[in-house]
Symmetry: C2
Subunit: 480 residues, 2 copies
């Protein structure tokens, strides 16, 4: 059993006590100073061995990557960079790491590209960067739960496998137990999904929202936090085929209350990370500065990582209607000078990341919430405004990434929803249960979705989404 | 926006203040007393209307299931069963519920079987039973996160889609984007999965353990909490095709430390539920008593629900080796009298639920942890004991349900693991990354798995696993 983690030891004020520590060797200098890491913190504990007291054979095994146990006395450190260190009295090799083998992996002590690290995703977690990212990811996930639970929300596990494909949020993966080569066929020669496990065609969910609405209309406040899927062939640094999504849904909340919730929630979780991952975020900020040095000036971050996080915390999110935003964009310098890739000409245009970032970074210089989008570029379930052409949708826009949250007030009027479903060719038989919510005690309600990996990217400053999830799933990649 | 939830109002000590409440009508007695529920608690708030102040037309719409808003004064209640009530000054119907339509659903105010409720899973959450179960489920889920985070664990999202099918924990679902009717074929006439989304055959995960081990061997302590899947045609009250699993994994923990962790963890989460879901658990205890009355004596619970929960909290989990357990079972009365369905004859037998329950409920009268199971009935990754025939496996056994946790110390020795994989025909190429953990700084480590729905069943006293998850997935069922 581990007596104390390094994170705890580094905070302890008592010296001259005997301790036992286990971890992995990060470096061994001058046959004397072992830098030991156990994953509890990005920091290493300096373990000082007096080589005269240990056999040469033993010390030869203290290689980078080896697992060791040290017993010794905690003392104040003479060296720089740490307050305490261990004077080692006993050293045990738990698991060796042959330097010849290590040399062939990313564990070898030299600089490896993020691409190379991705290929050894089972080992990259032993690097400082991935340790910092994944500890921060864990803390952010907990902050999500803590925020909602403190505020009276119920965590709801929406289904992962679904027989419903009505939402149309994206291409879906099929889930099947049929023989792939010779599936059973029906009389028309089509695959007979009635013989499949679920007796119908089943897919992986793209969103838990519709099911979350059923629970919000009974429990009042709910949230989901689970995996969602897209079978889209997008090989970009922004897309995953499998990612985690957070979807709160609140009965009796209108769009204004929904905006309040989104702003309060995001500020809470980012603040939680700043307070609970200080060492990791400091490391990641420096990593980002180093990375930026290798890039052309124009691609470098305008703000340092912590500056960007405080920018979110310290600004009110500016609320701007889509119509106002279009006016601003149409008259903006980059639009007039055709610097935008997509020139904004008319009301009704779908905004691109470049436009969202312009509004946040150049025009308002605060996080922005756009609302009241054109109905025809948004989903069927969003509440129609009295103008008949816009819906109560909202997107929260952040610097660097553009949209981080998308949400809406839901259409609670049975007739209006039914009409919309007809227009958009959505099968009302399939969604009878969703319509039922408007039949039995309907009420105003709202919610939003936040892609968790986007939040982790924003908080850690990692530019590729594949570097903020342990084992990324993308086209051609389901390793490990 | 909701001003205050009913849960909060019922706890408030201030009366004679004006409040606004929104919720759904549970009953309306004597044209005067509305029982209003908003999902924040199982309790209803009594809203008293003076019918002379409201139009008949309005009061006619106050039907079971309708969503309403009331404004009024909070006063001490004259009636029984509540401390406070609202004297309504303003009443607004937000969403009607036509009694003729309600009659056709489970919202109608009469007793419906759990089977019937299952068919209307989008509405069953509006019943007292499912409100209580799902609020408790949410609190238990949070307790899981809180326990691990407090104890320095990192939450890890293990992959849901996996290209690896080596673990053999059960039948898997295939995940595919290929055309079901005419999949591409290779030169041998087999389905060419290289043309599928992931460029290989991919499945839904049965466990995140192996991936969690890769993270434990870097971060020290990790846990997963995510959905897992079994494509097994088990139409029982104990099996789901999709369920949520919790899997902690700890570097440097041996099996004893693993048992300590399991016991401490389970006690924490059950205690959390008792402290935070008191009203719901009280309701569920009474529900169970009512349900038991309809059963033959032999099938009734021996303990009341809260008694059973305290039984877990107040007993030390008795640790018994498999070998001792076999001796006890062989010499037990039900074995000798052939009362067991499966008679225990020899060492090596796989224990059934009836044996596990005998040990817990009749013999030891405490929760039991069995350990050191025969190697040939357990998985390849469990650590071999020096006797060469048992492995460092453990199962935690509970009254009523038998096994609730299964875990082990993992085989950390490269050569022993490799040998075991050969014997069990597990592809070492496919699991090269798992073997790497034993090559680079290997160390003793342990973990366990807990099926979250089993825990929710135990805590809520629901006998069918389909009643503790919002939208159960079982053979032939992927509705909603």
């Amino acid at each position: 059993m581990q007596d104390k983690t390094i994170a705890k030891l580094l905070k302890s004020e008592k010296t001259h006590v005997e301790v036992t520590v286990r971890g992995w060797v990060r470096s061994f200098r001058s046959n004397r100073f072992i830098a030991l890491n156990d994953g509890s913190t990005i920091k290493t504990l300096q373990c000082v061995v007096d080589f005269e007291n240990f056999s040469e054979e033993l010390l030869k095994k203290v290689n980078v990557g080896a697992a060791i146990e040290v017993k010794g006395t905690l003392v104040e450190s003479q060296g720089q960079g740490q307050n305490i260190e261990i004077q080692v009295s006993k050293l045990t090799i738990l698991g060796e790491a042959n330097p010849e083998d290590v040399k062939l992996t990313i564990l070898s002590p030299k600089k490896h590209s993020l691409e190379t690290l991705r290929e050894q995703a089972h080992l990259r977690i032993r690097t400082n960067t991935f340790g910092a990212v994944m500890r921060t990811r864990s803390k952010l996930a907990f902050a999500v739960h803590q925020y909602f639970q403190k505020n009276g929300f119920n965590y709801m596990h929406s289904p992962i496998i679904t027989g419903s494909d009505a939402e149309g949020a994206g291409e879906m993966f099929r889930v099947t137990a049929l023989d792939a080569r010779n599936p059973p066929l029906d009389e028309k020669g089509n695959v007979n999904f009635k013989e499949d496990f679920f007796e119908k065609e089943a897919n992986l969910t793209v969103s838990g929202q519709l099911e979350a609405e059923t629970y919000a209309m009974a429990l009042g406040k709910v949230y989901t936090f689970g995996p969602t899927f897209r079978a889209e062939n997008s090989n970009t640094s922004r897309h995953l085929a499998e990612f985690w999504m957070i979807e709160p849904e609140v009965a009796f909340n209108d769009l204004d209350a929904n905006m309040d919730l989104a702003e309060d929630f995001i500020k809470y979780v980012i603040n939680y990370a700043l307070e609970n991952c200080a060492d990791d975020i400091e490391f990641l900020e420096n990593r980002l500065l180093e990375e930026d040095k290798t890039k052309p000036q124009a691609e470098r971050s305008e703000m340092k990582l912590r500056e960007k996080l405080h920018f979110i915390l310290e600004n009110n999110f500016k609320r701007v209607s889509y119509t106002e935003a279009i006016d601003i964009l149409k008259n903006s310098a980059p639009n007039k000078k055709k610097k935008f890739k997509y020139i904004i000409e008319d009301w009704g245009a779908d905004l691109q990341s470049e436009h969202e970032r312009f509004l946040v970074e150049k025009h308002f210089k605060t996080p922005v919430i756009l609302f009241d989008y054109p109905a025809n570029i948004k989903s069927f379930y969003m509440r129609l405004n009295d103008d008949g052409k816009t819906v109560r949708a909202m997107d929260v826009l952040f610097p660097g990434i553009g949209e981080i949250v998308g949400g809406s007030q839901r259409e609670e009027r049975y007739d209006v929803l039914l009409e919309k479903m007809k227009t958009m060719n959505i099968d009302k038989e399939e969604l009878y249960w969703y319509l039922d919510l408007r039949k039995f005690g309907t009420a105003v309600h709202s919610g939003f979705g936040l892609g968790f990996e986007r939040l982790v990217q924003f908080t850690t400053g990692m530019s590729n989404i594949r570097d903020v999830i342990p084992y990324p799933r993308t086209p051609g990649n389901a390793e490990f």
